[in-house]
């Protein structure tokens, strides 16, 4: 239809030429429906997963939830067993992970973007970090066992919360670095130039303009990385998250960081290994709880992001 017409031809044929034609953009509509289909599949898959877990774990979630949340592991029966130690252990591990991964990762990103930008060194480091993000978590477990549990056991005291947290920190570090690098690169140069233009030093430009502008994105990426750490079981099993050992005794909160621990994903793994349907119910219920926990952490990230974005 897009054949060039004379002005006279356009005038006489306008009504006809401008009419909407069915089938004019088949590829466009097909593409749109493909996208809708993919979205439905992705969200539907998650919805089914969540529904199955809730249904499977309903016995515990509906009747026995308080007991389940507040009691420790028990070998005797599924009904007695709870996930209290797992929740606490997961939160402690996540805290240690954050303490190690966030400052290191953000600092690395600042160096790469603001100081070494464009250099061959920075490009090589960045490429390697991107590759590290694809390394399977079990490999980090082996690294943690060799380095954090054995080599520096003077600091970590062996198979402890600290060793577990540091292992997961090594695992999520590439993610923290990459998201922070992207966040810093997204800060427009015009903002940096504006600050330099009124006589700011590099430190002043970074601390008062660039970091605040990138903060919300860095925060989001960091929390997503922590959420991933919360859900990891494999590396933690290697570095000694035991099942059920978490007797506080006289130990205060700080001492528990250098003691034995367990984590929710490890508990789920152990519940699922036990023979008998009632243990399966526990595994499903614990899965729902970890999902809620991850959701809560993400919610916190969104809340913090909105707060920081408004606050300038």
């Amino acid at each position: 239809m897009s054949v060039l017409t004379t002005p006279a031809g356009i005038a006489t044929g306008a009504a006809d030429a401008l009419r909407r034609r069915p089938g004019a953009d088949v590829a466009g509509s097909a593409f749109k429906w493909l996208l809708i289909g993919a979205t439905v599949f992705a969200t539907g898959f998650l919805a089914v997963l969540l529904a199955v877990m809730i249904v499977d774990g309903w016995e515990v979630l509906s009747g026995n939830l308080w007991h389940f949340l507040t009691h420790g592991f028990s070998q005797r029966s599924a009904a007695e067993a709870g996930v209290w130690q797992g929740i606490l252990g997961s939160l402690q591990v996540a805290l240690v992970t954050g303490l190690f991964a966030v400052p290191t990762g953000v600092a690395t990103a600042i160096y790469l973007v603001e100081y070494a930008q464009g250099s061959r060194f920075a490009r090589i480091v960045e490429l390697n970090i991107r590759n590290l993000a694809g390394v399977p978590s079990i490999v980090y477990g082996l690294l943690g066992l060799a380095v954090f549990v054995q080599t520096i056991d003077g600091f970590t005291k062996g198979k402890t919360v600290i060793a577990g947290g540091m292992t997961l920190a090594a695992m999520v570090l590439p993610i923290v670095v990459i998201t922070s690098v992207e966040a810093l690169k997204a800060v427009p140069d015009s903002l940096r130039e504006a600050a330099y233009g009124v006589g700011a030093t590099k430190w002043e430009v970074l601390s008062r303009q660039v970091l605040p502008a990138a903060l919300s994105t860095i925060l989001t990426g960091t929390v997503l990385a922590l959420a991933r750490a919360l859900g990891e079981a494999a590396p933690l099993i290697l570095v000694g998250a035991a099942t059920g050992f978490m007797s506080f005794g006289d130990a205060n909160v700080f001492e528990t960081f250098t003691g034995p621990y367990t984590a929710l994903p490890v508990l789920i793994f152990n519940f699922a290994r036990q023979p008998g349907a009632d243990w399966g119910v526990n595994a499903a219920a614990a899965s729902v709880i970890i999902l809620v926990l991850v959701l809560a952490v993400n919610g916190l990230a969104i809340y913090l992001r909105n707060r920081f974005e408004k606050q300038w």
């Binding site: 930008q117 464009g118 427009p188 015009s190 903002l191 940096r192 130039e193 504006a194 600050a195 330099y196 233009g197 009124v198 006589g199 700011a200 030093t201 002043e204 008062r208 303009q209 502008a213 300038w312």
Partner: protein, 302 residues
């Protein structure tokens, strides 16, 4: 720019604006008038003396052998086609090119006798004295007040004195009346023209000696442009102003001196800018020495 319009304006309007004493019809300036203008200029103090400035981006030469002086309390305009290196040159005056990866400046720029490109010079101190307004308004994502107060705070101005600095700067930038009731609100809520005046206020808040302007009106409508031009005319009494512009009428309206840059491509296709002509604005627009300048300002090229 529409070549016809440029041609028309240059012949019919420019002399009126630039040299009110000259009769309208005169298109050539007699020798004594030139000498008088040159003499006038010799009285003024020199702020910058540039000697053989060459700017490289990596291996390739972006600007070749520029030598010129900038006089105090004048508006100096840099004009020329895209890629001629005028913005590159402007950014030499406050060492903004330091921030560009791979950029290197050879030659000397003496600022009140001090070579800005010697090792002992701190670029941060240079930028406190030589402020800059950018092509696109780039306010900080902060309140109007904090945009202005940012520079003075860094310079150590006391909290108690900040209010006065903010009011004074906004007043001089002809923005105070429009924003005095919403100082705590986001600078992003301002219109484009207001944002650019805010950026000018921010630049003068640190009490610089020189203000560099890189096509400050290119993102603005004619009314906002007019306000900025009025502002430049007022600021000239206190500051030395160097402005890059694509708008030749603008250069003709507001500047005292004009430097015309041109661009040459070598056999590799690399484009290198060079200074063609530097003269009082009235001369450049009425009686340019170089045929390239004449071709450009009359709209035959560019």
């Amino acid at each position: 720019m529409n070549p016809e319009k440029a041609l028309m304006t240059d012949e019919s309007e420019a002399p009126e604006i630039l040299a009110p004493s000259e009769p309208h019809t005169q298109t050539r300036i007699d020798v004594s008038a030139v000498a008088a203008m040159a003499g006038q200029r010799a009285d003024t103090e020199t702020v910058f003396e540039c000697g053989d400035i060459n700017v490289y981006y990596g291996d390739f030469l972006a600007l070749r052998d520029v030598t010129l002086d900038i006089a105090a309390h004048e508006v100096t305009a840099f004009i020329g086609p895209s890629g001629c290196g005028k913005t590159t040159f402007l950014r030499c005056f406050n060492r903004m090119n330091d921030l560009i990866e791979g950029a290197r400046v050879d030659g000397t720029i003496h600022y009140h006798g001090v070579n800005l490109y010697q090792d002992e010079v701190d670029p941060v101190e240079v930028r406190r004295r030589v402020g800059m307004v950018f092509q696109k308004p780039n306010p900080f994502p902060k309140s109007i007040y904090d945009n202005i107060a940012y520079g003075p705070r860094l310079a150590g101005v006391k909290r108690s004195a900040l209010d006065d600095v903010v009011e004074g700067s906004l007043t001089r930038a002809a923005l105070w009346d429009e924003v005095k009731d919403r100082l705590k609100m986001s600078a992003y809520g301002l219109s484009g023209g207001q944002q650019q005046r805010l950026c000018i206020a921010r630049a003068i808040a640190v009490q610089p000696d020189v203000v560099l302007m890189d096509e400050p009106c290119s993102a603005l409508d004619p009314i906002a442009t007019g306000r900025i031009e009025e502002l430049i005319a007022e600021l000239k009494t206190e500051y030395t102003i160097i402005i890059v512009t694509h708008n030749m009428q603008q250069a003709a309206r507001i500047s005292d001196m004009t430097a015309f840059f041109s661009v040459q491509a070598n056999e590799m296709g690399h484009r290198t800018g060079e200074l063609v002509e530097y003269a009082p604005t009235s001369l450049i627009f009425t009686n340019p020495d170089d045929p390239r300048t004449e071709a450009y300002i009359t709209g035959r090229v560019g």
